[in-house]
């Protein structure tokens, strides 16, 4: 009798657990490069695509592109296990924003989370994102102007090994560095080009602002995706843009997928991308 009870209840519990974890999305594609602007031909595509497994009010891909910055004195060589706030206070760019937005009651809207890096084993990213606040406060033409997102890379031993800061946009200096951007929803594909004229869609002018690609009233079975094809070489990048947006040893490219405002971890990625041109 007891054995039967155990078997039946175990089977039901496992069944329930499987049912409760049923995903809202089926991941079709999630890929990003390890390096860019290197002499050897390598993949130059950032891509995410999902199929809705149920009707959704809203689905959003949030892109962020961060550039490597310097670690302040005293950060490297110290183990930081549970000291996110202390660590972040060392960066005026982060601290100034945290303080200001707290002062106007927006502290709950600042996203701070730790996530594993997609293409580096045993390293995690401490992400601080003000992108949603910026997209709410500033007009869309402002999307490329201010730092909105910050990240620290922490290795398995707890040492901070990298600092990144950047923008809420699909890719850094997208108007110069993207060859193509493609947004797909339910079989409808829109392609954006660097120098689109006439009715063509332009990377600089027409892509959704603040790196947020949103879809509403998504139906079960709809396929939604974004693909970015990065240029092979760094040509035609103006000096000021090069110095502020491109001259970095590495980038962090982020895509986070939200289904009805809930982060879908399986369809989100955090890549460290080596900038080959800067290394040369």
């Amino acid at each position: 009798m007891v054995a039967i009870l155990l078997v039946v209840s175990t089977a039901l519990t496992v069944g329930n657990s499987i049912l409760s974890k049923r995903p809202s999305l089926d991941l079709l594609v999630l890929e990003g490069p390890d390096s860019l602007f290197v002499s050897v031909q390598r993949p130059r595509t950032v891509s995410v695509a999902v199929r809705a497994e149920r009707d959704l009010d809203n689905l959003e891909f949030r892109f962020r592109c961060l550039l490597q910055g310097a670690l302040p004195p005293g950060v490297a060589g110290r183990v930081w296990r549970n000291a996110t706030s202390e660590l972040l206070s060392l960066y005026p760019a982060v601290q100034n924003r945290l303080e200001y937005f707290s002062g106007v009651g927006a502290e709950d809207l600042v996203i701070i989370r730790e996530v594993p890096l997609t293409n580096r084993e045993n390293q995690r990213l401490v992400l601080v994102d003000f992108g949603e606040i910026y997209s709410a406060i500033f007009p869309s033409e402002q999307d490329n102007e201010s730092l909105t997102t910050f990240a620290l890379i922490v290795n398995a031993s707890g040492y901070v090994v990298g600092y990144y800061e950047g923008y809420s946009e699909l890719f850094t200096a997208k108007e110069y560095l993207l060859e193509l951007a493609r947004i797909e929803v339910g079989g409808d594909v829109k392609e954006y080009l660097p120098l689109a004229s006439g009715s063509g869609l332009s990377i600089e002018r027409d892509l959704p602002p603040f790196g947020n690609v949103s879809f509403s009233e998504v139906r079960k079975g709809d396929v939604l995706g974004v693909t970015l094809v990065v240029k092979q070489r760094l040509i035609d990048v103006p000096k000021a843009t090069y110095e502020t947006r491109v001259a970095t040893p590495s980038f962090v490219e982020i895509v986070e997928t939200f289904a009805d405002e809930e982060l879908v971890k399986e369809a989100s990625a955090y890549w460290v991308v080596l900038n080959g041109r800067t290394e040369e």
């Binding site: 002062g103 106007v104 009651g105 927006a106 809207l109 007009p139 000021a240």
Partner: protein, 350 residues
């Protein structure tokens, strides 16, 4: 641009959610000194803190404790914050450096000009008035339209500094208690060439007053060194000098270097009084209360959709939990029935 929406926001103040009650948002004055010698702009934390203390001292004395003074170490956030409606003023220093350059987009300049004219009190030091760096800001907000930078006289005793002598040109509220003449440590002073023989270059709009002039090492003796300006709702004071840089490049290590200027009573008096005058329309009287109410309305209107999204996510999670609980109860019930059925068939009937 953002400030332009304040009036609309004030009308929407009834939407204010608790976080944005007017009592909770304070008027803010920003202080950011980017006098470092490296490119890109290098923030000078120690110097900024000293200037912030000075600003706090003067604003507290004149306007009470309600005004917050915030040291800002990130150039792009400083530009962002100048457009926020509860920011009433700022002291900003930029270091003009030979061969250096500063990226300031047209959009950013447009925003600062628009915020200034909409109602900001600004004090700009050195590079802000230099047109190759700051373009239209150097004409429409910090009206020096400078295109050259001149070093001062080298003084070796008691400490090595580079100095300019400033001579009063006009007496007004800002400099009424300051001396007719004073020396300050000016690593360099920016000016517009050709220097006008009589009078000074002035922007087409607004009201500019030259408070002090000085003589450059190249022999021009009529160069505006401190200038007050009013246009539309904005007020500014521009210091053409006060470049806090020494030739040794040990700036960051020499904690006392900036005190060569900030230690001079006339410089403290003029910096403090300049800020007090520049923010006066927004720091006292009914104006400040109305502005903070409008700020509350602005942030409520802008951020409410995000709070709604957050609530939506919480509700979705709660719904999911409720579904899981209901399913668990259902399955538990089913399991009891199944066990009883198996027990009945296997043990009772069998």
């Amino acid at each position: 641009m953002v400030r332009g929406l304040v009036v609309t926001s004030a009308l929407l103040a009834f939407l204010v959610i608790p976080q944005f009650a007017a009592g909770g948002i304070a008027p803010v004055i920003l202080v950011g000194c980017f006098d470092g010698q490296a490119y890109p702009l290098s923030y000078m934390a120690n110097y900024t803190q000293e200037v912030a203390k000075l600003v706090q001292e003067y604003t507290r004395e004149r306007y009470g404790e309600s005004i917050q003074v915030a040291a800002i170490g990130d150039w792009s956030f400083l530009l962002d914050a100048l457009t926020f409606p509860n920011v009433i003023g700022a002291v900003i220093a930029l270091n003009v450096r030979e061969g250096g350059e500063l990226y300031l987009s047209e959009l950013r300049m447009e925003e600062v000009v628009s915020s200034f004219e909409g109602g900001l009190g600004l004090v700009g030091i050195q590079g802000l008035g230099y047109s190759p760096y700051c373009g239209r800001l150097s004409r429409e907000v910090f009206p020096l339209d400078a295109n050259l930078s001149a070093p001062g006289r080298l003084i070796r005793v008691p400490v090595t500094t580079i100095r300019h002598t400033h001579q009063r040109a006009t007496i007004n509220l800002i400099n009424q208690d300051a001396p007719d003449q004073f020396d300050a440590a000016d690593g360099a002073l920016v000016y517009r060439k050709p220097v006008a023989g009589g009078g000074w270059w002035a922007p087409e709009e607004g009201n500019m007053t030259v408070l002090y002039v000085c003589k450059t090492v190249s022999g021009y003796d009529n160069v505006p060194s401190i200038v007050a300006y009013e246009n539309k709702e904005g007020r500014s004071v521009t210091f053409a000098g006060l470049k806090h840089t020494d030739g040794s490049g040990k700036y960051e290590k020499d904690l006392n270097y900036y005190n060569h200027s900030l230690g001079i009573p006339a410089v403290r008096e003029l910096l403090g009084e300049s800020l007090v005058w520049a923010v006066q329309p927004f720091a006292e009287g009914d104006g400040v209360e109305a502005r903070m109410e409008a700020s509350s309305g602005f942030f409520a209107e802008k951020l409410e959709p995000l709070f709604e999204k957050m609530k939506m996510a919480e509700k979705a999670e709660a719904r999911l939990k409720a579904r899981v609980t209901a399913r668990m109860l259902l399955l538990s019930g089913a399991s009891v029935v199944a066990v009883l059925a198996i027990a009945y068939i296997g043990f009772v009937r069998g």
